[in-house]
Symmetry: C2
Subunit: 318 residues, 2 copies
């Protein structure tokens, strides 16, 4: 079975680990969000791609969900001693190496997709990891800070400000001009199932869908497209989905997110058991819906979520 | 007193520390060799400038004489895990930060001299540290390896091969087109004394002198120019001066090095007491010469060498 997964960072990566346990024989292609990418210290940092790569490759810091295990922070300490920031972005020494290799390969002319493939030869994530695009896309967030309207990088909004202010608008800068990376449309066209993990529907899955051609390819693939709600009990399980959903005028509810994707794109939707009363509204919107436990407390629970998603896909197909 | 010092790496840096103790009130400008510079992992590494900066700024690994104290090597380990080399060049995590800042500033358009000044605002080396040139100069060495003639970067010759093969030629690539960095000629013109520490006469001091304008400015400065022999008892105190001297047809003796610089450039020359019999030949070549202890065993001994050099300068001046 060929499965295509649109993934953000931590939530997407953890879901993928469950999916690998649930469907060990499946041929999984991950289309990773690169809208969170940022240039720091002259280096190209791809947080979501790396989180997927490290998580599936056994290098992730399990507790925090991002960054490397057994990490030290000497480079960052020294950069701070030179007065070079930002200090709010936590790059560890081992993680720096990934960005150094990536930046060197990009400077040598390799596209991000080729660089990602090269990095994955070390990590063997067990999936084919593709960036959504080789073109630069950067999610920016409009906020009001100190009485002034400012447009800041998504990482500044999320990591520095901890989403403590309202997001007035979310703009994936460059998305309109971006092309899907080589292999992305082909993987979608060849998929048996397409899954949206409980990743952020605006700044993760939404950004991937903002690359012209990807949404259309998914809608036209003619295979079940099933998503899992990142909103449980009217709040995001982790992250700031509520804040960025507000920016695009969508309520932070499991049903509203399904309707935001829409029945033209989504065939099935899993909500958590606490949101069982949303099933009716989602089905009324033309999307098959089931209520199952959606907390990724461990890989076993996550694998069960993946099984439920695949089961719903087969139900849709039949 | 304004002193200009032409410095390589470890030997130059240690001499400078002695000079600071010998002449704490002096206004010292260091013209640093950049011919050892190398691009590694997409980063600009300036080993000699950094050795001077770290040594005088209190950040040097005292035992090895280069690199940072309290150093870790996680970035390098990870680069190796990605299969990205070279592995033979020992860049530590803290050291990486320096190269990251430098590379970022160079990419932003700052010349190396401005970058070096910025880095020094952190280290406060107590001297004005100028690169010999803002232009790229890279010392290459012609060798015979496995029966083939190859031209390799100086760092490959020295760090990787440990100068284990003969150097057939030493070429400071780019030197002919290079211009002295801003401030270099002005510092020389304003100097009261010019010193050549016991740095390598070919690949350190020689490379600086290869930048058009610098040798001439020193010769025409009209102030005492005094050097200290890096050769003691017909062998280099450290490094591979004998190998690279052979490449330029100069014997590895204290006298031969003085004559290689020549009386047109050099006014005074210090040889070690074990080379006292060289004094006559050096003086016959028109260079005032004294035999004094030249082993930089500690800062006290090194300060005494600096005092002797300054005393010889005054003798020459009178």
């Amino acid at each position: 079975m060929r499965i295509v997964v649109l993934a953000g960072g931590i939530g997407g990566a953890r879901f993928l680990r469950g999916l690998q346990q649930a469907a060990p024989e499946a041929d999984v292609t991950v289309i990773g969000n690169t809208g969170d990418d940022i240039h720091l210290f002259g280096l190209k940092v791809c947080p979501d791609l790396d989180t997927v790569m490290y998580t599936l490759g056994g290098g992730i810091n399990e507790e925090q969900g991002w960054g490397r295990t057994d990490e030290s922070f000497h480079v960052k300490e020294e950069l701070a001693a030179y007065g070079v920031g930002p200090e709010w972005f936590g790059l560890g020494d081992r993680d720096f190496a990934t960005h150094i290799v990536r930046t060197q390969m990009l400077a040598a002319g390799y596209p991000l997709s080729a660089v990602t493939e090269a990095l994955c030869t070390r990590w063997n994530p067990g999936v084919r990891l593709l960036p959504m695009s080789d073109d630069r896309v950067e999610t920016h967030v409009a906020v009001e800070l100190d009485g002034e309207r400012k447009v800041i990088h998504f990482q500044e909004y999320w990591v520095k400000l901890r989403a403590s202010v309202a997001a007035e608008a979310v703009v994936p800068v460059g998305a309109e001009q971006a092309k899907p990376a080589p292999g992305v449309l082909e993987a979608i066209a060849a998929a048996d199932v397409i899954l949206f993990p409980p990743s952020n529907p605006v700044v993760s899955v939404g950004t991937i869908l903002a690359v012209p051609g990807i949404r259309e390819a998914i809608a036209e693939a003619g295979v079940p497209v099933v998503g899992l709600s990142p909103i449980v009990g009217n709040a995001p399980v982790r992250g700031m989905a509520d804040k960025v959903l507000a920016a695009v005028g969508v309520e932070a509810t499991a049903a509203a997110v399904a309707e935001h994707y829409g029945s033209g794109l989504l065939d099935g939707w899993l909500v958590d058991t606490v949101d069982a009363d949303a099933v009716e509204a989602v089905e009324a919107a033309g999307i098959r819906c089931r209520a199952v436990p959606l907390m990724m407390t461990d890989t076993g629970a996550t694998a069960e979520m993946a099984r439920q998603a695949l089961a719903l896909a087969e139900e849709v197909r039949a």
